[in-house]
């Protein structure tokens, strides 16, 4: 191990300066001068850019380094990622930088081999996904990195004007009702499909998203827009049930998604008289079931 002046280290090549989410260096460690040595390969700093920055600010004159003998780029990159020690929390932006570095050096096919270090598990499609991320408009990249929108949905929105994406970003961030990532994904996907199917012009998409997110139940609203026939059937069922069984304490359930041929009826009773009353309700109900069965025909 060796020491090098800070100024010299700062002049080193920065092709491995890839990480924006590195853990901050604790002040106590800076004060105690307990800093790990920086790996260098020739005139290239392999890892420790935020450490270098913090040490400079703290007035360090030199830092300990460990020299790495000549290794292929992928090996140096592996060392940098291992030293970052953040599997599972690398941002899309960071992974995109890694992707660009590999592409620039003609070894992009090795990208997915880094997935255990980057994600904490194997993912043979990581390269493809980061490539997709890289193709996104900047505004969408921000939303994906903020986990406001998933990559797949973002890809579908990539043709939208930047201003619309920014406005939707504002809406998603300021949502009055907190939505989980998966709910937000479902809602956005459904609205996206509605906009494509109905040919809704871009200038009206923002209103569609806003109205949905501001509704009492955003998921239900989105589903009603995406599945109008199914929603109409559900509403019709509720209407009929209300008309024929309201106040009877008889529970009527249709087959799931109106797929099947059996309705289910249930009720409880605590006396012969109560049972007879239910039977009378059912007799009246039985005479008017055609409209229910129409929902399945």
């Amino acid at each position: 191990m060796d020491y090098l002046p800070i100024d010299k280290l700062r002049s080193f090549a920065r092709s491995f300066d890839l990480f924006t989410g590195s853990k901050p260096i604790k002040n106590e460690l800076l004060e105690l001068k307990f800093l790990p040595p920086l790996p260098i390969a020739g005139n290239e700093l392999v890892w420790g850019f935020n450490l270098l920055c913090s040490a400079t600010k703290a007035g360090y004159g030199r830092l300990q380094v460990v020299r790495i003998s000549k290794k292929p780029l992928i090996e140096l990159l592996r060392i940098a990622i291992i030293l970052e020690d953040r599997a599972g929390s690398f941002s899309w932006e960071e992974m995109e930088k890694i992707y660009h570095l590999l592409v620039k050096n003609g070894c992009n096919e090795l990208f997915s081999s880094l997935s255990p270090l980057l994600l904490g598990h194997e993912d043979s499609r990581l390269f493809a996904r980061v490539k997709q991320f890289s193709s996104l408009k900047t505004q969408l990249k921000v939303l994906v990195d903020e986990k406001l929108i998933d990559l797949k949905t973002a890809l579908h929105c990539n043709n939208w004007q930047a201003a619309l994406i920014e406005d939707i970003g504002v809406l998603l961030r300021s949502g009055e009702k907190p939505l989980s990532f998966s709910r937000r994904r479902i809602i956005l996907n459904q609205l996206l499909e509605v906009s494509v199917k109905q040919g809704i012009p871009e200038e009206k998409i923002l209103t569609l998203v806003r109205n949905t997110l501001n509704s009492a139940d955003p998921l239900k609203t989105a589903q009603a827009l995406r599945f109008p026939e199914l929603t109409a059937m559900e509403e019709r069922f509720i209407e009929l049930k209300g008309k024929l069984l309201a106040g009877t304490a008889i529970k009527l359930t249709p087959p799931s998604f109106f797929e099947g041929e059996n309705f289910n009826i249930s009720f409880s009773f605590n006396s012969k008289k109560a049972l007879e009353k239910k039977i009378n309700y059912l007799k009246t109900f039985a005479e008017k079931t055609d409209e229910f069965f129409e929902l399945l025909y």
Binding site: H156, E229, L230, E259, G260, L296, Y297
Partner: protein
Amino acid sequence: MSSLNSYIDHFKKIYVAGEVRHLRRLETALERLRHLPVIYVDDKGEIPGEDMNSHTLFISGSKGETVGHCPASRGHLCCNYITADLYLGCILNCSYCIMKSYLNFSPITIYLDTEATIKRIIEIAENNKDRTIRVGTGEVGDSLLLDPVFRLSEDFIRALSPFTNIFLELKTKTHFVDHLLGLENKGNTVIGFSLNPEKLISRYEGIASTLAERIQAAWKIVEHGYLVSFHFDPLFLIGDWQNQYAQTISSLKDIPQDRIAWISLGTMRYTKELKQEMGNQDFLLEEFIPCRDGKYRYLQKTRSGVYRYILKQIRKRWKSPIPVYLCMESQAVWKNVFGRLPHEITELSAIFKEAQVFACASDQGRTT
């Protein structure tokens, strides 16, 4: 116009497994594919990763069981179709093909030795003499796409034609029937054409033959003494679908009803896995709901209406009852469309009577 040569040009390499080297028909097939490099291997495992795709042909023996039941869906009525695998995989690239979800990294495989498969079908037929055995080779690949090169169907037609209870169906989206026209005994061989309106074929059925080519091939087949079948599957509810399908059915007008073995109907359906592979197809923007078998289908009420409409068009075209059945549909839909279940419909009862396929053999399942 799609041609066999354009399909053959799709292939870049041939791998041949050791067990079929001695077969004479290999020589003939390779002669037809002489522009392609041939590599001999002991088994599929030797094919390098970069060639594990549909640009590779793998000519092999039929290891394991190649005869099985059509994989019926849970909660849906089964038509007791028996499948025989000859060609595994397809290059037509239909947008909706279920094989997309499980055969992406496989070469197109040809089981060149037909003997065991034929023997197995005969065994089933002999054990079910009182039943109609419908057996098809188009379950895991197009029956006729590569058949002009490998000529496997001829073996089946010749061997199975004496059995009056066997209906061998060769199902296709091509028009490659010329090589079959000259065969002497056709028995109950049925050439099945999967049909859709031309607008939808050009949109969703990759490089498959046009509707006109398929109908012309159906005509040829009928004129040469074969039976035909038509499969309106998958039916799409897009745009003016009623007119599109009515016109398609109308274009079959003069095909004599006594030469039509059956017509099947099935609406578009997909698994979650397939949806991943299909990408942004416009038909996916319709209302699909999950069914008991995990597949997504149009709403039951919608499907029932579609089938009733298509059935009406068929009944308008051919007066006497041609067997029309629904593929992978629920009891509820059958009742909505026909008012009855298949075994209660005279012209379908024979088709839907289950044959004892596995009870007569020691092997209980298929491994292929």
